[in-house]
Subunit: 377 residues, 2 copies
């Protein structure tokens, strides 16, 4: 770690953010609180992040001239989603400090790399095999068994680009639908809960890890996070430890979410790494003194990380599509609920438009019925 | 109250803010959280508010054409400081809903109007007299006694435009310095504490009032706020009640701070009304679920007001000038402290550059020594 790298960005410096969605927007809001300016770079005009940033560039991720101008205008570069082309970050790295760096993108953009990386980092994962041909698939199923999940190795999110294989006759149609992209077969995990933990790692290597949360999905999109996850203490600690291990092993400067499955015996399997603020960390905006977005900005700016302790328990509800937006009038009038919207012009089905955090007294969630925890959400 | 007026602004609407300082900036950040766009109108380019707003206009407050374009581009108009010319708001009122309205500005821009208004609203004030001539001043001193404070009736803040009169020979030089502007003589109040309370009032007339806080000044500029103020319960309740009375009497749609003096017997005297978010309410950003800025935006947007309950006690420390900025490296590394900066390019002496909130367990401040409460600030 060089001493130069450890010097914090002075107030008034500009943080460049690749991507203009809600994660970039909320990072920009957190950066403003800390006195930084933001410059959003995204292909879409009037993106949510641009509405709250001091400057923006609307250009393709492949536009070398625009990228060079962007790099010259900012003091550090980060990204709000891991599907920014690695070539974009590689082009920026000689021009400006990039936090996280391109090596992190390369690991997280490819499920094969990611699984192998998690294993090397000491995080157990479900059995998996690379699949390029139908013969590979047959061999993988023979090794792993059914049910199993066939996924594209790249650009999958919110359940897109995957198929569950339950019977031998599911193999051919799934392969036909998902190939010729490189694929991965993963054992179907009989999990009792999905959890995630968010870890920030500073320029100086310090870690700050938030409490692990339980996530519930609806139509493959995150619907609810319960903070903290109702887990045995040893399991909860293991979840946080795994997130920290991954941040360390990646040499991350920034923030990541590690999604994990909880097995019936309480053990954990790592599933996915998201090397940026994550939907399952939105609860931190109202239940911690420093949100995941502030933590992300602190890491990227070389500031000391903040204490990630939570001061309330919380339940986060995503507002997805027109149905989610329909909850808004009720959410803004419910005491104890903090509503958030992302400034998206169109309420298309399946689109994340906002979220609401209900805060609860510290320690109260552990013994609370779901119906009570979710009242008003 | 018309039913039309009570209809909330839909998500994605634009809030126009007159003034681009830190109060406009923090209001814009709160508006973004709620899914609104902001358009900042201010005479200064690159003002703190503009760095986080979707749109801005740099123009004089007297520029009728620019004001008309601004009104056409926004769904509602508010202001971040009460010294926006009343003529500006009067020009905008036929073109767009203005919240608060110009009648509120007129009261709060003139100390004579303000004192008379506070009395009518049922808030006791120190004895005062209007002063236009030296003879007025002599008569006022004869009626009120010395010491007393001579102030300009308009455009004073942070101690500017005032003189303390202790002896008869102070009158002539003070009058010479402050005249020919209209003046007011106010009895010197032997207060034991300065407190303030912040009240929001919605389009539907609902009130939401935060806990009263104790304020300490340094060189006439707010230095510290202690939330809640350490007052007898009846005094604390009276402070909140007075703020609500003023909001009601003004017919306010928006948010105001009422500054008050606490006398040795625990009674209160109203001092000043600030009809916008106030420095003494910055603690709400980290110790309440909805900050004063969110509350301001909710009122202006016609949303239901949020619960103003505090979930932590707090101490707010202002960062003023280079000396304040010098605290930054320590503040960003202190657990339990949330630092805020305003994006101002120059750290001129006396300029408010940021603040830091230290949060403390609910109820702990009442019996805490100042040295403990201020540790790390």
């Amino acid at each position: 770690m060089s001493t130069t790298a450890a010097k914090p960005l002075p107030p008034g410096s500009t943080i460049g953010i690749l991507g203009g969605g809600q994660l970039g927007r909320m990072s920009a809001l957190a950066a403003a609180r800390l006195g930084y300016r933001c410059h959003i770079y995204a292909p879409e005009a009037d993106s949510p992040g641009m509405q709250v940033a001091a400057a923006h560039t609307v250009a393709a991720y492949e536009d070398a001239a625009a990228l060079a101008r962007f790099a010259a205008a900012v003091d550090v570069v980060t990204f709000e989603f891991e599907n920014v082309p690695a070539a974009t970050l590689a082009a920026l790295e000689p021009l400006a400090p990039c936090r996280p760096g391109v090596q992190v993108l390369r690991v997280c953009q490819d499920r094969l790399e990611e699984k192998a990386f998690l294993e090397r980092a000491g995080v157990p994962v479900a059995p998996w095999r690379a699949v390029h041909t139908e013969a590979d698939l047959a061999a993988a199923v023979a090794a792993i068994g059914l049910p199993a999940v066939l996924k594209t190795t790249r650009l999958g999110y919110d359940g897109r680009g995957q198929a569950v294989l339950r019977r031998p006759e599911d193999l051919a149609p799934a392969f036909a639908r998902l190939s010729p992209r490189p694929l991965i077969l993963e054992a179907f995990v009989p999990f009792v809960a999905e959890v995630s933990a968010i870890a920030a790692r500073g320029v100086d290597g310090t870690l700050a890890v938030y409490d692990a949360v339980e996530n519930r999905h609806r139509d493959h999109i995150l619907d609810l996070s319960f903070a903290p996850a109702r887990l045995a203490p040893a399991t909860a600690e293991a979840a946080r430890r795994h997130a920290g291990q991954v941040a360390e092993a990646l040499g991350l400067v920034g923030l990541l979410a590690l999604e994990m499955f909880v097995l019936p015996d309480g053990s954990l399997l790592g599933n996915e790494i998201a090397p940026r603020p994550h939907n399952s960390g939105h609860w931190t905006m109202d239940a911690c003194l420093a949100s995941q977005f502030e933590q992300h900005v602190r890491a990227v700016a070389g500031l000391p990380l903040a204490d990630p302790a939570r001061h309330h328990d919380a339940v986060m509800k995503n507002l997805v599509g027109p149905e989610g937006l329909a909850l808004w009038p009720q959410l803004v009038r419910t005491p104890g609920v903090a509503p958030h919207l992302y400034g998206k012009a169109e309420a298309r089905p399946g689109r994340k438009l906002g979220h609401a955090n209900r805060i609860l007294p510290l320690g109260s969630l552990a013994t609370m019925d779901d119906s009570v925890a979710l009242a008003g959400l």
